[in-house]
């Protein structure tokens, strides 16, 4: 086991004095490998807090470049970053924030061909993607690779957060929503907008849950769904069971390999949004 440097003792002192974290927990964080899908609205704050916490290895996948319309919520990117690949911009901020973190970037979209190999190296996965095909791909890949997936999503003033651990008997994405919505049914963020600060609320909660999963402390969101309404400032936590007929993770599963959903125009708009 590695020893802390004096600088690390100081940097992480507020963690180390917490009995639930301690030196032992901080070492777990430094040895942890977390993968974040998307360096957008949710990924930005999540990545900043994971980096600040001293998560030793952080992988980031995003195939997009920073757009001016992203800056209203994607706080890891700054105005001079417009036009740069998001993973490059995010990696630079993370390295400046905490040189303890090894950042691995994937400047590409995840596909059925590359996703399993990419996530295999990580302990915990975060989904902060902005389209349904990618969410289903990530859910299915995480199930096949038996990885814990902390999933956040948002729209207008609403956010949802949950942790998928189907390999431990809890629900997966398809237990709640078996199939992607039909095109056009769920409007895109570009069409309908999203409150910028909402990304902070949900993204930071994703980082919190990922850190708790690494440390093995508190109550997991496995088997639960947190629903946030920013206008009412209400958090509601509901129970989620495994669907006995889940197409992916039940005994009656019909999905045996990764499937690719076509991106409709609406979904493309949402991705850019």
């Amino acid at each position: 086991m590695m020893e802390f440097t004096e600088e690390q003792l100081e940097r992480y002192s507020r963690h180390i004095i917490l009995p639930e974290v301690g030196g032992k927990g901080q070492k777990k964080l430094l040895e942890a490998k977390v993968f974040c899908l998307g360096a957008g609205g949710l990924g930005s704050p999540a990545l900043m807090y994971l980096a600040a916490a001293g998560v030793g290895t952080i992988g980031i996948a995003d195939g997009d470049c920073v757009d001016l319309s992203n800056l209203q919520r994607q706080i890891i990117h700054f105005t001079p970053d417009v036009g740069r690949p998001k993973v490059e911009s995010a990696a630079e901020k993370i390295r400046a924030l905490n040189p303890d973190v090894k950042v691995i970037t994937y400047n590409e979209r995840l596909t059925a061909d590359n996703v399993r190999e990419i996530i295999r190296d990580y302990d915990i996965l975060l989904d902060g993607s902005d389209n349904f095909p990618t969410r289903y791909l990530m859910n299915d890949a995480a199930y096949f690779e038996k990885k814990t997936l902390v999933s956040g999503s948002m729209f207008r003033f609403d956010g949802q957060l949950t942790t998928f651990k189907p390999h431990e008997g809890y629900h997966c994405y398809r237990c709640i929503y078996p199939e992607p919505p039909p095109p056009g049914l769920v409007p895109s963020c570009q069409e309908a907008g999203v409150l910028g600060a909402l990304a902070g609320t949900i993204g930071v909660l994703q980082a919190t849950e990922a850190i708790k999963e690494i440390l093995g402390i508190g109550e997991s969101l496995a088997g639960q769904l947190l629903i946030f309404d920013a206008l009412r400032m209400s958090f509601r936590k509901v129970k989620v069971r495994k669907d006995p007929e889940c197409p992916l993770c039940s005994e009656k599963a019909v999905i045996k390999e990764l499937v690719t959903y076509e991106e409709s125009c609406e979904l493309m708009a949402q991705r850019r949004g």
């Binding site: 998307g38 957008g40 609205g41 949710l42 990924g43 989904d127 902060g128 993607s129 902005d130 389209n131 349904f132 969410r135 956040g152 999503s153 948002m154 729209f155 609403d158 956010g159 949802q160 237990c175 709640i176 929503y177 078996p178 199939e179 919505p181 039909p182 049914l185 769920v186 895109s188 963020c189 999203v194 769904l225 629903i227 509601r236 936590k237 509901v238 129970k239 989620v240 069971r241 495994k242 669907d243 006995p244 007929e245 889940c246 949402q270 949004g273």
Partner: protein
Amino acid sequence: MKIKVNGKEMDIDREITLSDLLERLDIIPRGIAVEVNREIVPKSLYGEKVIKAGDIIEIVRMVGGG
């Protein structure tokens, strides 16, 4: 008997299944999840889940933005 759907009171004449309730409400169960008394009902159980007096139902819309 009275139930609550999305915070609004609703009267139904007898116990019905969740599938029947959604049909009455003209809700096609795609892109949504349904919560009864703070528990998401798996889609495959909509036809068996019986809605009783006093039940609190929330229709949760799927959100996919990031």
